[in-house]
């Protein structure tokens, strides 16, 4: 790329958060020819690694943790970026575009990318109890794996995507697994009643005990160790180990005094800009999606990549709104689910390919007459091929009433 193309690009870029979205921002900047200085600040001691395998291959032991690394050391070095790891951002000064870290560093840049992701929510009072886990980081996954062995009574609190995956992986390892949460079926909020019903059958067949439809009010303990999970009904589910998978909170504490608008994430315009020269990407970003006409925040792996690519382009002057069709997948036992688009809870769902009983199908979700999403159950290609219908639905002018 010629020098001209770089004209107007900031001289220094600082990326806060050294994971999927942060790394992709850096790689895309370099790929597009950016030659300025790049610094990446991350609070974890590890080089960037990937999270999806943590609840699957790393937890099951199929992969050694090193395999989750996003890039080799060699590839990272070739990026010619300074990685500052094991140090946390504690404050952002917008006026000077400076970030202060826990160890006292002051990092300045002309453009700042906020890529701090989310942190697992915990049950209050469980922090110091042995046997209680969350799963967000590599260290979490290794601690959980160490705590699991065949015959352990594991209770998974939270019937969302992560909780359902962990239940499946642990059951496959031969643990005695109970899945609990307030909704009536696994992933009911994410995929609606029809598909979550099929998931409920699958988990039951595989021997996971479903104790759904009840809130969890707390844990029981003895001698500093967890002994059970107490439900709103008063009943206690006995446990040797508990995984709490009740969602995550955007890692924005360090921005509290920055003056940026924080509301369930860093609020951004349609170009992922929190303000001139300050961007947010990945799980932490809540930006205005022009196709939907509202703010959205996505917690999925593909968005981390795509949004980072968009923001890198934006930093280099692309000036294009970011309005993706979201995508996520989940693996549970032999079921591979692929979700494109949005599956609103009130959507009308019909099976458009394959069939439910054979557990190989594509379901289409429609809301207000438009296709908003498609879900494939062991039919990844067929699901993807219907993605265009979602794009068309997003492009159509919004109905007036």
């Amino acid at each position: 790329m010629s020098i001209d193309d770089d004209a107007g690009a900031p001289a220094r870029v600082l990326v806060v958060g050294a994971s999927a979205s942060g790394l992709t921002t850096v790689e895309t900047l370099r790929r597009k020819g950016y030659e300025g200085r790049i610094t990446v600040l991350g609070d974890e001691p590890h080089a960037p690694y990937d999270r999806p395998p943590l609840s699957k291959q790393v937890l099951s032991g199929a992969w050694e943790p090193e395999r989750a690394a996003l890039r080799t050391q060699e590839v990272l070095s070739a990026l010619d970026a300074e990685f500052v790891l094991g140090d946390q951002a504690v404050a952002l000064d917008r006026a000077s575009r400076g970030v202060r870290t826990e160890s006292g560093r002051e990092l300045r840049a002309d453009a700042i990318v906020i890529a701090t992701g989310v942190r697992a929510r915990r049950l209050p009072g469980s922090e110091d109890l042995a046997g209680v886990h969350v799963l967000r980081t590599l260290d979490d996954a290794l601690a959980l794996r160490a705590g699991l062995s065949a015959g352990t009574r594991l209770v998974v609190v939270g019937e969302g995507v992560l909780g359902s995956e962990i239940a499946a992986t642990a059951r496959t390892l031969g643990l005695d697994v109970t899945l609990t949460g307030p909704l009536s079926a696994p992933m009911a909020l994410q995929v609606g009643p029809l598909v979550s019903g099929v998931l409920a059958d699958l988990h039951t067949e595989r021997g996971v005990e479903l104790r759904l439809g009840n809130g969890v009010v707390g844990l029981t303990a003895g001698g500093g160790r967890v002994t059970g999970v107490r439900l709103a009904t008063g009943e206690v589910l006995p446990a040797d180990a508990v995984v709490v998978a009740i969602g995550a909170t955007p890692a924005t504490e360090w921005l509290a005094d920055s003056g940026l608008e924080i509301d369930n994430g860093v609020v951004c315009d349609s170009h992922c800009r929190a303000e001139e020269g300050i961007y947010a990407v990945g799980d932490v970003a809540r930006w205005y999606h022009e196709g939907l006409g509202r703010l959205v925040r996505l917690e999925n792996r593909t968005n981390a990549t795509e949004q980072a690519m968009a923001v890198a382009g934006e930093i280099l002057g692309a000036d294009r709104p970011y309005a993706p069709v979201p995508y996520f997948w989940t693996d549970q036992y032999d079921a591979k689910l692929q979700v494109h688009g949005f599956l609103p809870p009130d959507a009308e769902v019909d099976v458009v390919e394959g069939d439910l009983t054979a557990r190989r199908f594509v379901a289409r979700y429609r809301s207000k007459g438009r296709v908003t999403g498609v879900l494939g159950w062991n039919m990844p290609k067929q699901a993807r091929m219907r993605r265009q219908e979602i794009v068309d639905g997003l492009d159509a002018p919004a109905p007036t009433h």
Binding site: R301, T302, K336, Q338
Partner: protein, 64 residues
Amino acid sequence: MKVVVDEEKCVAAGQCVAAAMDVFDQREDDGIVVLLDENPPAELAEDVRNAAAVCPALAIRLEE
């Protein structure tokens, strides 16, 4: 440019196909990536780089 795919890593996301239709496809039965062209022509290089970058499973490696 030479393209290498790792079927074992592939999670059947199909993002690569959306990015570079002429180079990648997916198997009918399990959606795992199928490499249509191991040495794509120069005019597709940028699409292929995009495909590799967007693959959530890092299953696509490029030797340039």
